[in-house]
């Protein structure tokens, strides 16, 4: 409801409000669900609309990092104009589809070639799938103790129907050599300084040739928004969005592990601490491994911290659940701060990589404060964690959400 109120305020008035200090920390009244973020993150964030986007929660202007307000997750599909925006480097050119080329090369290809946008769409079998795109750092802002980085709340995640060509079909045209170990991806974006490492990511070959790994050119039936990687991006269902390279311009099959800051130093987690199935062996070190899969997770989408209800009147709790692609087994909700749990009803299954909506209705009989919590368990029996498993970069935060409500 709060988001709806904000959505009708013009950008100008939002900024004036921010300048006037009404969105400062003391204004927690306005966005109480942000409690738990660093105080400076609450003070500096604001609703702001990038060109072509609805107002999103701005964390940084340059490079742009904007998260989706939680109210947008009442539906399984996240609209393109509300989809979160995450860039590492500030040089983000407007890409012209007509002159765009996708270079497919590398020392582990037999026949390097380049594709036009029309060729990408016409010459490869189109595939559609629904998949969650989640920043590795989603919910970093709630990590206790806090970790430096973009201080995301719950909204560095979205779910879309992606349409594109299978990466393996594109690699097959180039002729993948036996010795290929990784496939690296670069986008048209880049740093402002020559000395800053360009954002280049790689996947192990086995994941690159997975049937579900795509070079996507449509998102929810429309071209990708500029801010989400127009004209094409990598889609790696089940894996963190760090691999979903935007504004894709080059694909390189490599006979050696890719060396670069964004693989060797960034986006890594301690080995053996997380219930992750997929490993990225060619990039593992003695102590750390690249993040691979996202976590089983869930969110309440329609109720805000501190919201008031009337006793004796029915309350419907709605939300989403997701996991790396094993499928959601069940979602349970606690109405008593975690002492007891009951099963929520699951919504339609849009595929194993998709958000799964869920709902639970109940009628509070007593007045007072309640803590409601959702907990997802996937088909492998893996549940969300009760406490954050600490790691230096603030990843894998799938701690069970707690929302306090008041029944009066």
């Amino acid at each position: 409801m709060i988001e709806r109120v904000f959505a009708i305020i013009t950008r100008r008035s939002i900024l004036q409000t921010a300048a006037g200090g009404l969105l400062m920390a003391g204004g927690g009244l306005l966005r109480p669900a942000r409690a738990g973020l660093p105080s400076g993150a609450i003070e500096s964030e604001m609703l702001d609309a990038l060109p072509g986007k609805q107002p999103l929660l701005k964390h940084s202007f340059r490079p742009p990092n904007y998260e989706t307000p939680v109210g947008s997750f009442n539906d399984a599909i996240t609209p393109n104009d509300r989809f979160f925006v995450r860039w590492h480097l500030a040089h983000i050119p407007e890409v012209d589809a007509a002159s765009w080329r996708l270079n497919v090369a590398g020392d582990a290809t037999e026949r390097p070639f380049a594709l036009t946008f029309e060729q990408l769409k016409q010459e490869f079998e189109p595939v559609e799938l629904v998949a969650v795109c989640q920043c590795a750092g989603n919910r970093r802002g709630f990590c206790d103790p806090h970790v430096a980085g973009v201080e995301w709340g719950d909204g560095a995640v979205g779910n879309a129907r992606w349409k594109g060509a299978r990466l393996k079909d594109i690699l097959a045209r180039a002729g993948l050599k036996q010795e290929a170990v990784e496939v690296a991806f670069n986008g048209a974006d880049g740093p402002l300084l020559e000395a800053t490492p360009d954002f280049i990511k790689s996947l192990p070959v086995w994941k690159a040739i997975d049937d579900n790994t795509l070079v996507a050119y449509e998102m929810n039936g429309a071209p990708l928004p500029h801010w989400n990687g127009f004209p094409a991006r990598i889609v790696v269902p089940g894996w963190a969005a760090t691999y979903w390279v935007k504004q894709l311009i080059s694909i390189s099959a490599l006979a050696q592990p890719f060396k670069g800051y964004w693989m060797n130093s960034a986006y890594r987690v301690p080995k053996g601490k997380f219930p992750t199935v997929d490993r990225f062996l060619s990039q593992e070190s003695e102590t750390t491994t690249p993040i691979t899969e996202i976590d089983v997770n869930s969110l309440i989408a329609n109720i805000s911290e501190g919201q008031r209800f009337r006793s004796g009147a029915s309350i419907e709790i709605r939300g989403i659940a997701w996991d790396p692609g094993y499928g959601i087994g069940r979602v349970e909700v606690s109405l008593d701060g975690g002492s007891s749990w009951q099963s929520a009803a699951l919504g339609p299954d849009l595929g194993r990589f998709s958000f799964r909506t869920w709902q639970l209705a109940f009628t509070p009989q007593r007045k007072g404060d309640m803590t409601i919590m959702p907990r997802a368990i996937n088909a492998m029996g893996i549940a969300q964690t009760e406490a954050w498993i600490a790691n230096p970069a603030g990843y894998h935060n799938n701690v069970i959400q707690r929302i306090g409500i008041r029944v009066a």
Partner: protein, 103 residues
Amino acid sequence: MHERIDVKIVVSSVASLLMVASAIAAAADESRIQLKDDPEAATVRAACSVCHSSDYIEMNSRFLKRAGWEAEVNKMIKVMGAPIPESEVPRIVDYLTRNYGVE
């Protein structure tokens, strides 16, 4: 793998760095962000806003100790290639700790 669709902005002098930073700032609404007032605020703005808006600093407050801010500044220099003179580092770290850190 270093193709670029259009030309990167390559800057080499402090003067041009500031020009680029202010041009981008104006375009991105980020000029509305005010770093906390302090004699070193201008130094910090000049050093950091070459590559990113100043909200990166504020959103990471207040939880870093001096060592945490020092690590961030050193990462920007050593990893991200920020052209910050060695002599400015203690002043920048002091400013960040004083205004955006915890003791």
